[in-house]
Subunit: 215 residues, 2 copies
């Protein structure tokens, strides 16, 4: 039997380096040599531990992306439990905080959403993990939470579109930091992220802050 320490150390370093590079540059723009250099191991290690580059990419989603998605979900549920109720305001506040401030470091969060976006624009086998095992269950859960509070006339599609819209904002403000920073004129610091959460909650609950007599 191999020393499980050394074995998994190289595997873990590979997964870590691969995840960061895939997130930053995308699958095709990253070479196996680049990954193994970053992980400080031999070129052949990828094929020895994961078979090939594609399986390494899939392993990144299985071993690193999925657990993180679950951590975010757990954080949302903790936030909501702390609210004491399941009103739309509480739900959205808990969701926005879990996704934008949440349990992840800033680097992790950026990495997480970049991988997600790349999988949406270039779907591979990992797309199923992202949609079927993560997004879909989450959205169904949110739908059940919000449904009792929505207008009776709202059908299921409209309810889902509302949740997708909230999600689109969170996703966008996470992965499109560059253009957002360019447009608002400053970086993503902590106070701004606080204001961002507040904005998403406000906008989701009331839409544009229009004066009453101007609607």
């Amino acid at each position: 039997m191999p020393p499980d320490n050394k074995n998994s150390m190289t595997q873990d370093r590979l997964l870590k380096s691969a995840e960061m590079l895939f997130a930053q540059k995308g699958y095709d723009a990253v070479s196996v040599r680049e990954i193994t250099n970053a992980a400080k191991c031999n070129l052949a290690a990828v094929n020895y531990h994961f078979g090939n580059k594609k399986t390494l990419y899939l392993s990144v989603f299985r071993e690193r992306w999925m657990p993180r998605a679950q951590r975010i979900r757990a954080c949302f549920e903790e936030n909501l439990a702390g609210c004491g109720d399941t009103s739309p305001a509480s739900v959205i506040q808990s969701l926005a905080e879990a996704l934008i401030k949440g349990p992840l470091t800033d680097k992790e969060r950026l990495c997480h959403f970049q991988l997600m976006i790349r999988e949406i624009t270039n779907p591979t086998e990992a797309f199923e993990i992202v949609t079927e095992e993560t997004m879909k269950p989450s959205f169904e859960g949110l739908g059940q939470l919000l449904q009792p509070y929505l207008h009776e006339s709202i059908d299921e599609e409209r309810a889902l579109l509302n949740i997708l819209s909230i999600f689109s904002m969170v996703l966008y403000f996470n992965f499109a930091r560059l253009p957002v920073s360019k447009i608002i004129g400053h970086a993503y610091d902590q106070p701004f992220k606080d204001r961002l959460v507040q904005h998403i909650v406000d906008f989701s609950l009331s839409g544009l802050p229009v004066r009453e007599n101007a609607k």
Copy 2:
């Protein structure tokens, strides 16, 4: 002097094929051979007409993406002129229709937003074209249109966040068709796009359709 017809015909075919392939697969996943095969011309044509692959990619943005962004903008302005006023409802309706139904074919629109997303996640020199020459001016124009109607307490950053939020929805519902289709359970047909525009307008103006006594 060469026959300007034949000259520009090959160039145009290259730009057309390159745009579609770059949008579908991303810069690194598309080879020059793939592009020249699609354009039915010789491999060396890319280097003869554009110098190299990277310049071809930039030319796609300059020669095809920018004009299309301008067509969308013109459509928005026509829509708004047809409304007779510049109320937030009219502005948002005109914007959502220009972006989601608009002057483009479905294929063009998908291509347009895919290129945009790719440039946001993998910024190159074309990123400046997308942000500085297109997004920023548009958002400033929208800000000036909406400002008079917003609450006096709303500062510039909050006003921009509102516009960015509307934009995030439009962008998301355009480029993330796959997961959206998976979640709502059907394809992007014309009636759905109508409902989508309506939803974006409603959501932007009022947020979640919550019952009054439940807010």
